[in-house]
């Protein structure tokens, strides 16, 4: 049987009664998990593993996969509505998604997110079918040196989120990197900047910081305005306008590519493709100043990349048995507990099983779209709740989210502190996004550099031997250098467009 025949067989299987039900249940649960605080995709998926003991393996795995990419969408909802990312990767969507909500266009934002996610996920799955094994093997060539290059490139791209004040953005990046270093050194285990406080051994958690900076900071800002509701504008129709469609479609295309390619590389994590897609979109835009103020392409690119990544991340798992991220590792655990070892041999031993699972990704993406699109109007209406209730509600949400990470009030205090900080920084117009991204990339950067040096026995010359790594390192740094020295050469002439 060749690939296509297997796919058809798998499609047939995945549309059968129970499997369809599992996919549906997974999508619903996933969206809820993404939506609710304290239940990131890995925690949510892990909780449900025991369920799989009593279910048939195929169905169980279909459901778990559906939960995984479903959760990506759930996280979007809170990002757009209340500026709190439901799970880490949705943080980029907050930037333009929430701005759109404040203009009354929450419906469009959510709709475009749903559609972009669908397109991204489906295309990624198609690509998975076609190129799974050869691409995955190629992706393994991406070693610690290349990884480090990618992280540096990512950080340099962060300047693309700078807005007006480049130096402030750079400083926030550095501060983000420094905060990321609090805790146990990732390689040696030596405590850094912990001052004997055991709660800091694990570092400053990303979720409390983001919930504080974005969520609580936003609440404080909104509190000082004299308005009855969270947002001041009228709710507009949730159908995106024609112009919005045009802008978004290109963003969706680019987002899919970025998300898919990065999904093939183990260890990248969902945030990197999301923000890279966003920044690329901003760089290519004719009106980059719209980004951050409700540019729909910003939402489209981020969300598409998000879902394309989630689906593509299954490639290393299925093709090579290597999980791309902690969440996918949980899925792998589910496979193993059910007696299946993902990898090339599973493809050979049990092709019907693997293809059924792959086919169910298609089905799952469709289900997600059908589930979420009609609800968009409903979600958007939530914003009409009076500010006092909304604010308190969001705070309950944030408290649960922060506490449940480690069952520790310390994280709640952290969130509170960063909330105040976020408010102050916003007032002073310091950009928050670079710090957040630095917080994520910092540890990965340090770890990959130190591993690279271990492999090369301390010699930095290893970068000269590996062209891809070298390219990833030098090109962005050169571009960044130019941007700092000759900003005028890179500024687009916007005045003429506006007039």
């Amino acid at each position: 049987m060749d690939t296509f025949q297997y796919l058809l067989l798998g499609l047939g299987n995945s549309l059968s009664g129970t499997n369809l039900l599992f996919a549906f249940a997974g999508c619903m649960l996933g969206t809820m998990i993404g939506l609710l605080p304290g239940l990131g995709p890995s925690a949510g998926t892990a909780i449900l593993i025991p369920l799989t003991f009593s279910l048939d393996p195929t169905g169980a795995i279909i459901m778990l996969c559906a939960i995984y990419y479903g959760a990506m969408y759930g996280g979007t909802i809170t990002s757009v509505l209340i500026n709190v990312p439901g799970e880490a990767a949705s943080v980029i969507t907050c930037i333009d998604g929430y701005a759109m909500a404040r203009q009354g266009r929450a419906g469009s934002a959510l709709a475009i997110a749903a559609i972009g996610s669908f397109v991204g996920g489906t295309i990624a799955t198609v690509a998975l079918v076609v190129v799974a094994l050869p691409l995955a093997t190629l992706a393994l060539k991406f070693g610690p040196a290349e990884f480090f290059g990618l992280m540096v490139a990512g950080l340099c791209l962060v300047i693309g989120l700078a807005g007006r004040n480049m130096m402030a953005a750079l400083l926030m990046t550095v501060l983000g990197l420094l905060i990321a270093m609090i805790g146990l050194d990732p390689v040696r285990g030596a405590p850094r900047f912990t001052f004997g406080i055991p709660e800091l051994y694990d570092g400053i958690g990303f979720i409390p910081v983001v919930m504080g900076l974005f969520g609580i900071g936003e609440l404080l800002l909104a509190a000082e305005r004299r308005q009855a509701n969270m947002i001041n504008a009228d709710l507009k129709n949730w159908n995106p306008t024609k112009q919005e469609w045009v802008l978004s479609s290109k963003a969706i295309g680019r987002g899919t590519v970025v998300g898919f390619v990065l999904g093939l590389i183990p260890g990248v994590g969902a945030i990197v493709p999301t923000f890279m897609a966003y920044v690329i979109e901003k760089r290519l835009s004719k009106n980059p100043e719209r980004f951050g103020n409700g540019a729909i392409e910003g939402v489209a690119s981020a969300e598409t990349a998000n879902n394309a990544y989630a689906n593509a991340a299954m490639v290393p798992l299925l093709a090579l048995g290597i999980p791309s991220s902690p969440t996918v590792a949980v899925l792998m655990g589910a496979f193993i507990i059910n007696g299946l070892t993902p990898g090339p041999f599973l493809f050979q031993e049990k092709p019907e099983l693997v293809w059924t699972i792959i086919a169910s990704f298609f089905v799952g993406n469709v289900i997600l779209l059908i589930l979420n699109l009609p609800l968009v109007g409903l979600w958007a209406k939530l914003l009409k709740i009076p500010f006092s209730y909304m604010c308190t509600g969001v705070l309950i949400f944030c408290i649960i989210g922060a506490y449940s990470l480690k069952q520790n009030m310390f994280d709640v205090w952290l969130m509170l502190g960063f909330g105040v900080l976020g408010y102050v920084l916003r007032k002073l117009e310091f950009p928050l996004a670079p710090a957040i991204l630095a917080l994520i990339l910092g540890p990965m950067m340090e770890r990959s550099l130190r591993t690279t040096l271990e492999i090369s026995a301390g010699s930095f010359g290893i970068f000269l031997e590996r062209p891809l790594a070298l390219a990833l390192l030098t090109i962005p740094v050169i571009v960044l250098g130019f941007m700092l020295i000759k900003p005028r050469a890179f500024a687009r002439v916007r005045q003429t467009d506006a007039e």
Binding site: S42, P50, L184, R188, Y201, D202, P326, A329, G333, G343
Partner: protein
């Protein structure tokens, strides 16, 4: 009709008396609510899989939920620290990995806030022997090939571990000592990174454990060079042991078991011992562990405590040696 004051006084007295009767009364009702089991390694990894299998079996045995909670980071230190600081009431089990717990305690740079006696070992579950593996197309066909190459080019053959001062790292040190060779040691963070590193061709050899990769060695995708144990692994009967190859001192494995905090009442420990032992011997548990390639080796109570102490002594020797090289 009880007067309110009497009622309050009575409940006050009961509250004061509670600690006195707590040990035996609580133990008879133990467990009354959900038990948490802190696993210090990521979900989906081979430690976590074993933990979840025993948690499911223990749930059936105790009739209360046994919830696995992953607290990852710093080679297990995060999770072990948290488990050590939990209340010694038997409701927070520590899923401990040896020699990880030992090396963390022994490395002064780690500034571990728990000591070797912070945990009371209850029962061991898995003994996962060390395995040295390479890609199927690697030039090293046997362990002897590897040692030869290392002798010819000291410090050039790269080997990797799943973490600094992990059992893999100690195994490398043991080999270096016994065969008088020097490797270039690279430390990854966990089995996944290690696999990516070796299969991707960035590092030559992996020092790992049987459980994580045995299916892929069985299928021929990877080649196992040697198992660092006294007897052959039943999952990989074709791979020779270090004992057979004349390296009898190179014995290393990763064991995982369940412990409680120092100060947990003795009867609760006893209840846990009996219950967990029954859970581990249940056919479902045995079967699932086998499918996952994890060798079951239950050691209960005093036997486990002795193993803990022995492992600590062995770890001490090699940890100090590793630290000297820093």
């Amino acid at each position: 009709m009880l007067k309110r004051r009497t009622l309050i006084a009575a409940s006050g007295a009961a509250a004061l008396a509670a600690p006195a009767i707590s040990t035996s009364a609580w133990a008879q009702n133990f467990p009354r609510k959900a038990i948490q089991m802190i696993v210090s390694f990521p979900a989906g990894g081979s430690t976590d899989i074993g933990a979840r299998i025993v948690a499911a079996a223990a749930e059936k045995e105790f009739g209360q939920p046994v919830v696995v909670v992953n607290k990852v980071g710093a080679g297990g230190q995060i999770g072990f620290t948290e488990a050590a600081r939990a209340r010694p009431d038997g409701y927070t089990l520590a899923f401990i990995n040896l020699p990880a717990v030992n090396t963390i305690v022994l490395d002064p740079e780690r500034k571990a806030i728990f000591g070797v006696d912070a945990f009371v070992p209850v029962i061991n579950q898995v003994l996962d022997p060390g395995l040295v593996w390479v890609k199927a197309d690697s030039p090293f066909k046997t362990f002897a090939d590897l040692i030869d190459a290392a002798k010819k080019a000291p410090g050039k053959v790269s080997v990797c571990t799943t973490g600094i001062l992990s059992d893999d790292h100690l195994a490398i040190l043991m080999v270096q000592e016994a065969a008088k060779v020097e490797f270039r040691i690279v430390h990854f963070d966990g089995g996944t990174q290690q696999q990516t590193g070796v299969i991707g061709g960035h590092v030559d050899v992996a020092f790992d454990n049987v459980g994580g990769v045995f299916k892929r060695v069985q299928s021929g995708e990877l080649r196992g060079l040697v198992v660092t144990d006294n007897e052959r692994s039943k999952f990989l009967p074709n791979v020779p042991t270090t004992k057979e190859l004349n390296y009898p001192t190179v014995i290393s494995s990763s064991t995982r078991g369940i412990a409680v905090q120092k100060g947990t009442p003795a009867d609760i420990i006893k209840t846990l011992e009996t219950g967990l032992q029954k859970a581990m011997m249940s056919p479902d548990h045995v079967k699932k562990l086998e499918e996952a390639g994890l060798g079951l080796k239950p050691m209960v109570g005093a036997e486990y405590a002795k193993y803990y102490a022995d492992t600590h002594a062995q770890a001490k020797k090699y940890t100090e040696w590793a630290l000297k090289q820093r």
